[in-house]
């Protein structure tokens, strides 16, 4: 394992300190916690938005803390949901009476920890609502199982809910637009290499020199299908077609596109994928309102990418365009 760290056990702590050191005027770390909050939290008369999850997905989640996006991000250990007490600290720090929305990615661990935090907050009289992002179409949607994972599409939920809250909307309104975003966002990823959790020291799976994995998550979990590596165009088509089909996108509709790098893939390759995604959508008469290419939701140093499409209407477009001062999503 080759990593620029001091100690696997201090990696998350060191990262959080280094993050605050980079943006000292914009964010603060709540003392003794793994919570990064807006420096000016709690903001008066504004619904607070709290997200978070395991670490190793940088710039998620702290990178999305800022005016127009999240009020706080709670970091767990690498790929491990943060604990209820930490999430509770985040909620308390951002609530100013208008209530708090929790944006949770659909993983059993995240849901249980955030739910327990919500129970603690409600016990203190804080009004808390939750939305659960489950944009990953790799996993079949079945009510018998855990359902779908939340991956890169979560960033759009942060953005849109954050913009709505910044407008002064009520907790119910912010929750409603977050739900609407979740209804209209889908993603799928693929990987060329696994990644190494610092404290584990070994890769989570092995891929041969000619293999790739489709439907990968963002925690070094194996994907749903392993096959021979193919061209960027074929990869782009496979991912995008799956997302289009699941969203039921039709000619004439408008979308935002995100081509997200998983951590170890050069930007050059993301743009090569974007070329084909763009072509495919244009060929189908689907209008691309805006495109985001880069690293938004990573899986440590995994080489690979995901494609996310968000179906837009006028409300979502306006909220997507609204100002954001989050370090990883400046608008």
């Amino acid at each position: 394992m080759k990593k620029i760290i001091n100690d696997p056990n201090s990696a998350v702590q060191d990262m959080l300190d280094g993050f605050v050191a980079a943006y000292p005027n914009d964010v603060k770390r709540l003392p003794g916690t793994t919570v990064i909050a807006r420096k000016d939290a709690p903001v008066t008369n504004k619904v607070g938005i709290v997200s978070g999850g395991g670490s190793g997905h940088e710039p998620a989640h702290a990178g999305y803390v800022g005016e127009g996006m999240l009020d706080a991000a709670v970091a767990g250990e690498v790929f491990t949901s943060p604990t209820p007490d930490q999430v509770f600290e985040g909620i308390k720090a951002v609530d100013n009476g208008a209530g708090v929305l929790l944006v949770i990615k659909n993983y059993t661990g995240d849901i249980m920890n955030f739910e327990m935090a919500a129970e603690l907050a409600e016990a203190e009289g804080i009004n808390v609502k939750q939305v659960v992002v489950n944009d990953d179409v790799a996993v079949e949607d079945s009510s018998f199982t855990t359902g779908r994972r939340g991956i890169a599409g979560t960033v759009f939920v942060h953005k849109i809910a954050g913009a709505k809250a910044a407008q002064g909307a009520s907790l119910e309104e912010v929750q409603a637009v977050a739900e609407k975003t979740i209804q209209n966002v889908r993603s799928i990823g693929m990987a060329l290499t696994p990644c190494i959790v610092p404290a584990a020291g070994t890769p989570s799976f092995e891929l041969k020199e000619n293999e790739m994995e489709i439907g990968i998550g963002i925690h070094g979990e194996p994907g749903i299908e392993r096959k021979e590596i193919t061209t960027a165009d074929e990869i782009a088509v496979e991912l995008t077609e799956k997302v289009i089909a699941d969203l039921g996108l039709k000619s004439g509709e408008e979308v935002a596109v995100m081509v997200n790098g998983l951590g170890g893939t050069p930007e050059m390759e993301l743009f090569i994928v974007n070329k084909k995604v763009n072509q495919l959508l244009s060929d189908k008469g689907i209008t691309i309102y805006d495109t985001f290419v880069g690293e938004y939701m990573t899986s440590l140093e995994m080489a690979g990418c995901s494609v996310t499409l968000l179906r837009l209407d006028q409300e979502l477009k306006t909220l997507l365009d609204a100002e954001s001062k989050a370090p990883a999503f400046r608008r």
């Binding site: 395991g54 604990t83 661990g109 327990m116 855990t146 584990a200």
Partner: protein, 206 residues
Amino acid sequence: MKLDVAHILDWMEKANDKIQQNKTYLTSLDQAIGDGDHGINMARGFQEVIGKISASDYSNVSDLLKDISMTLLSKVGGASGPLYGTAFLKMSMALKDSDSVDYPQFVHAMEEALQGIKQRGKAEKGEKTLVDVWETLLEQLKEQDDFDSVRFEETAKLAMESTKELEAKKGRAAYLRERSIGHLDPGSVSSYYIFSSLSDVVKESV
């Protein structure tokens, strides 16, 4: 059976030893069908439990179990943290003010713990989670009227091993669908360590 504070302290020591020794193994099980952190999470959490409970004095098992629960809740994270945290919390509540635990009390506490786990995780037996170990054990406990260390350990082991052939329906492994078959459930293995430690404690205390 009769479990007092010293027994529970001993139980945690033994469980921690097993988990620390098998940290890498638990993690490798989770790498196969999860995200590779279960051993790390459990080792961190139980280390903290030992730190916490060895620095305090307890006059009854309920307070001790509560501290165990709170430490697991705030130090493990992931799916296993809330589940184990909830289990020990429910045990603590079931044993309110008891300074020791007899067999019916123990069965009752296990029953409450299992219910807590199932409510929190929304999982049923057979879905390849630690519920498979806890529920199988509870069924066996209910069939008897005193603790049988050997049988308890064997039952836990068999239940743990039985998860290998199951397809996961809950937790991270569920994303793999049929590819989850053929691998042990990491949480069931850590539960097995916890219960085999309890079996050892009872065996030695007889």
